[in-house]
């Protein structure tokens, strides 16, 4: 659907349009906690970041929230307390997640507690990563493609993170198997064509992380991208659908991670 919006914008732009920065006076709001919690299948991947919302006109430096108690408990009752490594960042170097097991995150900050649960999904391997030329809105661009074999049965969800020469691409790439259940699937990582500096060129090193995520986390990324990016193309901007209980923003994702790198020919 992004494509349609993009398309209508291109039409509009071609008809003469102008963009300018304006002053909008926005009311301040009560600060909300933001929790980004991740447990993966590799050691060192368990990180929980705590921060808070800021008012619109403040700067974009989001200080971490220290002195919180953060723990992850598996369904056998084993609790790992995550020590604070830098302000607002809580890590366990050893905790890894196993497929099928359920993990519960507990966070308490200044007497407020938040929790979230997530089960570790089945790992689906990345079969290949390659860069291919595609015609995109009439221009030929180089785009990364990831191929994997989706297992039969709906409910598999994936997230991909692309780095070009070590720089992380901002777009959120997610895919579920609603329309492609049980198939050898390929996702093309489309990026907006107008951002020249993001274009992949020959000789670039392209790295893609593939995560197998839960449907709830898929919904989080989907709704974050649709409603909270600040784009006014969606009729009703809204906070993403979170799996955290207790009234915080953010998500708790238990997922697998696999990474591949290619040099663009």
């Amino acid at each position: 659907m992004r494509l349609i919006i993009l398309f209508s914008l291109i039409i509009s732009l071609s008809l003469s349009s102008c963009e300018k920065v304006i002053d909008v006076s926005l009311k301040d709001s009560e600060k909300q906690y933001v929790i980004e919690g991740v447990v993966t299948d590799i050691e060192g991947g368990c990180v929980v970041r705590l921060s808070r919302t800021k008012n619109f006109d403040e700067n974009n430096i989001f200080e971490g929230i220290g002195n919180a108690v953060v723990s992850v408990t598996d369904d056998a009752g084993n609790t790992t307390v995550l020590p604070e490594t830098t302000t607002g960042v809580y890590r366990s170097e050893t905790l890894t997640a196993t497929t099928g097991k359920k993990y519960t995150l507990q966070v308490s900050i200044n007497g407020q507690t938040f929790s979230a649960s997530s089960a570790m999904p089945v790992k689906v391997e990345m079969d290949s990563l390659y860069v291919k030329e595609e015609s995109f809105f009439g221009e030929t661009v180089k785009l990364a493609n990831v191929q994997y074999n989706d297992p039969a049965g709906k409910g598999n969800s994936y997230r991909f993170i692309q780095y070009v020469n070590g720089i992380k691409e901002k777009s959120i790439f997610i895919r579920d198997d609603d329309y492609s259940d049980g198939n050898i699937s390929t996702i093309t990582l489309f990026t907006a064509p107008d951002e020249d500096e993001d274009e992949i060129k020959s000789g670039d090193r392209v790295t893609v992380d593939m995560q197998c995520i839960t449907p709830a986390v898929f919904k989080y990324w989907f709704s974050l991208d649709q409603g909270a990016s600040g784009d006014n193309n969606s009729a009703s901007p809204a906070n993403p659908v979170t799996n955290i209980e207790g009234g915080a923003l953010g998500y708790f994702s238990v997922h697998t991670v696999e990474s591949k790198t290619v040099v663009v020919p």
Partner: protein, 772 residues
């Protein structure tokens, strides 16, 4: 059977005792030169008066005696004759057009008098003549954009042909073209309407007080009638504009008896894209075309057959990668039969179809998405001019809907996309209606009626039970043809007028409307892929109740007209998407993505119109409020609907400078839409995202714009005439906000900024129109 029905209806009607024998004058009103029937012509016999119906038919009953019989219509010379009435007579009237080559500029009214005696309120009527001088975007005359300049009717956005009526959403307008429902009335993502003004005879908008023959949408009826076709002589007319060209051919098949009309239009904006240096534009396709056609045939004096059709299509494509096409097709077969001088019947078979197709040919995923809504419709209506005090309309309407919500088909063997066909949804909508207009006294007129509707959801298909979080808890499967659920709704329609004096009246009305087909939309502009869904066991029929009162005054010999209406509307079972809803969900249970609630709207509308003289036009002002309350949105509290605009002003002026030149101007001002802006920001995934609290708690900046237009008549001969139209949209180049987005500042990455996008700063256009 019919006789029995008539007797029952007669009992329902306020019959008047006959003190004196009455006779009926009936017939059809036409334009002499073309044979086109005239809708809404005024017919007077002494003090008694009536209007011709949608097919030009009239019937008027008066006591025996001598009368001055007079017929008048906009742009026509008044027909007057004396008659001595001693029996029922048939008078078919052919009106002559006002001569165009007058040395003195004509000063007769360019629009009809609003009838003070009729209880009908909330009605606006436009003829193509009235819209011809209004300046428009791209020089393309457009009825929907003209309608938006009327009080109480608001444009859905910059240059958009979608509209909101009295707080209603864009899908709450019943848009009819020769009685067929048009499901998507816009071309090119809303910048044009599907109605080619060359093919249109009459446009009537009901923003309230809908007569009982209309139903199915909550907020308005836009009833558009196509021309029948000239049955006297062949005519070719056309126009060439900056981005489109059109041609209209009409003529008799058999003089006086039958005629045809074909009108076509195509845009060629894509040809300009090809000239662009920018390859991202050059390789795209972007056009639409539409075709209107009509045949009509008189079989004797009592019967007439009409066959009309519309077909339109939009095609968008981004190189070979992405394509989207959509279009409506409608067909109407009608049979008018005059049973007697007092009983007129119309039977219609109607077909209506809307579909879109998206094709993706990109990367490893090649597939098509298809969706369709298709109606088969039978309508029967009787108009019974029972006596001089009562005028009855009754009939029925039966529609079968088939919706194909979504079908995904892989288009290559290597595609990783599975074939996925969502279940077809079937429903059967029926209505039985009756309405009477009763002249209670010389000053009081009443219209009262009832529309009884039923909506049956038919098998086969799966239907669901859903919990509060939107998860399916139970599924019931039904076999083909099974009646799964039937909703029955009585819709009362009541209106009254009281004529204060010769020139002023007050009116009041109440209507209930029920809507069983719902358009679910999640984008700011109307998108061709918005979903039509029928009521289900979970999606309840939407219901609106509208109360309105109005004051009407004609001034200075009917040269000016003042209208003041105020309304209060409530709406139940409104539908909205859940936060994070997936519009393209691959599931039959669309209900899992929806939330339900209610709405209310109220306002005052004022219009001051000058109808005659060199300077004509109107000033309209609307003060209004529109709110929604949806369970699960905005903490279940009332919030401003997106279309809530406090003030809305339109000034429309046209001035006849000389025989050759007419100049015109519009000025529009409205309060910005209600919109959701961030309450804060935060960091996730190494990026800044926005935090929201209140739904629609902010407003877009106020919108205002001036458009200028001029029409230059080059030649005006009997056999050939031509003109040039110039227009300048947004003449003072106001940058009106189309969208406001929020992003990290490009100059100062530590800060966040708001960015406004404006469209159409000065859009000049020119078009050439001809006729021979």
């Amino acid at each position: 059977m019919n006789k029995l029905l008539l007797v029952v209806l007669a009992l329902l009607t306020c019959m008047q005792g006959y003190s004196q024998e009455k006779f009926t004058i009936s017939g059809t009103v036409r334009v002499q030169r073309t044979g086109e029937t005239i809708i809404g012509a005024s017919i007077k016999a002494g003090d008694a008066g009536t209007f011709s119906n949608d097919y030009g038919f009239y019937s008027i009953s008066v006591p025996a005696g001598k009368y001055t019989f007079q017929v008048s219509a906009v742009g026509m010379l008044i027909h007057t004759q004396s008659i001595e009435l001693g029996k029922d007579i048939t008078l078919n009237i052919a009106l002559e057009e006002e001569p165009k080559m007058l040395d003195n500029i004509t000063i007769t009214a360019t629009s009809k008098n609003r009838s003070l005696s009729s209880p009908q309120m909330g009605i606006e009527r436009l003829t193509t003549k009235e819209i011809r001088n209004i300046p428009v975007l791209f020089g393309e005359r457009d009825v929907l954009k003209t309608v938006q300049l009327l009080p109480g009717i608001k444009a859905a956005g910059e240059g958009n042909s979608g509209f909101f009526v009295r707080g209603g959403a864009a899908d709450q307008n019943l848009i009819l073209l020769d009685e067929a429902t048009v499901y998507n009335a816009s071309h090119l993502l809303g910048f044009f309407s599907t109605f080619n003004s060359d093919a249109i005879k009459d446009v009537t908008v009901y923003k309230g007080g809908m007569p009982a023959q209309y139903g199915g949408r909550l907020s308005s009826v836009l009833d558009i009638k196509m021309n029948d076709g000239n049955n006297q002589d062949y005519n070719v007319s056309g126009g060439i504009g900056l981005i489109s060209a059109k041609l209209n051919v009409e003529g008799p098949i058999q003089k006086d008896k039958s005629s045809f009309l074909i009108t076509g239009r195509r845009t060629y904006a894509d040809m300009f894209l090809k000239l662009s240096n920018d390859s991202s534009l050059r390789n795209n396709t972007l056009y639409f075309y539409d075709l209107n056609a009509k045949l009509n045939y008189n079989i004797g004096d009592k019967d007439r057959l009409y066959l009309s059709g519309y077909f339109g299509k939009d095609v968008l494509a981004a190189g070979q990668t992405f394509g989207l096409d959509w279009g409506n097709a409608t067909g109407t077969l009608r049979w008018n039969h005059i049973f007697s001088s007092k009983l007129f019947s119309n039977t219609s078979f109607i077909f209506s179809n809307y579909n879109y197709n998206i094709s993706i040919r990109s990367g490893a995923n090649e597939f098509d998405i298809f969706s369709q809504i298709r109606d088969l419709n039978l309508k029967q209506e009787f108009q019974w001019y029972i006596n001089s005090k009562n005028n009855i309309r009754f009939g029925f309407n039966s529609v079968h809907h088939t919706i194909r919500p979504g079908e995904v088909r892989p288009s290559s063997s290597g595609s990783s996309i599975n074939l996925s066909l969502l279940q077809k949804r079937y429903s059967w909508e029926n209505a039985l209606y009756f309405t009477n207009t009763w002249k209670a006294t010389d000053k009081i007129n009443l219209t009262y009626g009832l529309r009884l509707t039923s909506f049956s959801i038919l098998g086969e298909g799966d239907f669901y039970t859903i919990d509060k979080e939107g998860s399916v808890t139970d599924t019931l499967s039904y076999a083909k043809g099974v009646f799964i659920k039937t909703y029955i709704n009585p819709e009362p329609r009541v209106a009254a007028s009281y004529q204060l004096n010769e020139t002023s009246a007050v009116k009041a009305s109440y209507v209930r409307n029920v809507q069983n087909l719902h358009l679910i939309s999640n984008s700011t502009t109307s998108s061709p892929t918005d979903k039509w869904v029928a009521s289900t066991n979970i999606i309840k029929p939407e219901v609106s109740d509208l109360f309105a009162v109005g004051y009407y005054k004609n001034l200075v010999d009917n040269n000016y007209e003042l209208t003041l209406e105020t309304y209060y509307k409530t709406m139940q079972n409104r539908i909205d998407y859940r936060d994070g809803a997936n519009v393209f969900i691959n599931s039959d249970a669309i209900e899992t993505q929806l939330l339900f609630g209610k709405g209310r709207a109220y306002g005052i509308e004022l219009q001051f119109k000058r109808k005659a003289g060199k300077l004509t036009g109107w000033l309209s002002y609307t003060l209004s409020k529109t709110e929604k309350r949806i369970n699960g949105i905005n903490n279940n509290k009332w919030y401003n609907a997106r279309q809530d605009r406090t003030h809305d002003v339109a000034l429309v002026v046209s001035y006849q400078l000389s025989k050759k030149w007419t100049v015109s101007a519009n000025w529009i001002y409205y309060t910005g839409n209600a919109v959701t802006f961030p309450a804060g920001k935060y960091h996730v995934n190494d990026q800044t995202y926005f935090y929201y609290t209140n739904r629609n708690g902010y407003r877009m900046p106020s919108y205002h714009r001036l458009d200028l237009g001029a029409t230059w008549i080059l030649k005006q001969r009997k056999r050939f005439s031509s003109e040039l139209s110039f227009s300048l949209y947004n003449a003072y180049g106001r940058e009106n906000a189309y969208t406001i987005s929020f992003r990290e500042s490009e100059d100062n990455p530590g800060k966040t900024e708001a960015v406004q996008l404006a469209l159409f700063k000065y859009m000049p256009s020119v078009s050439y129109n001809f006729k021979f």
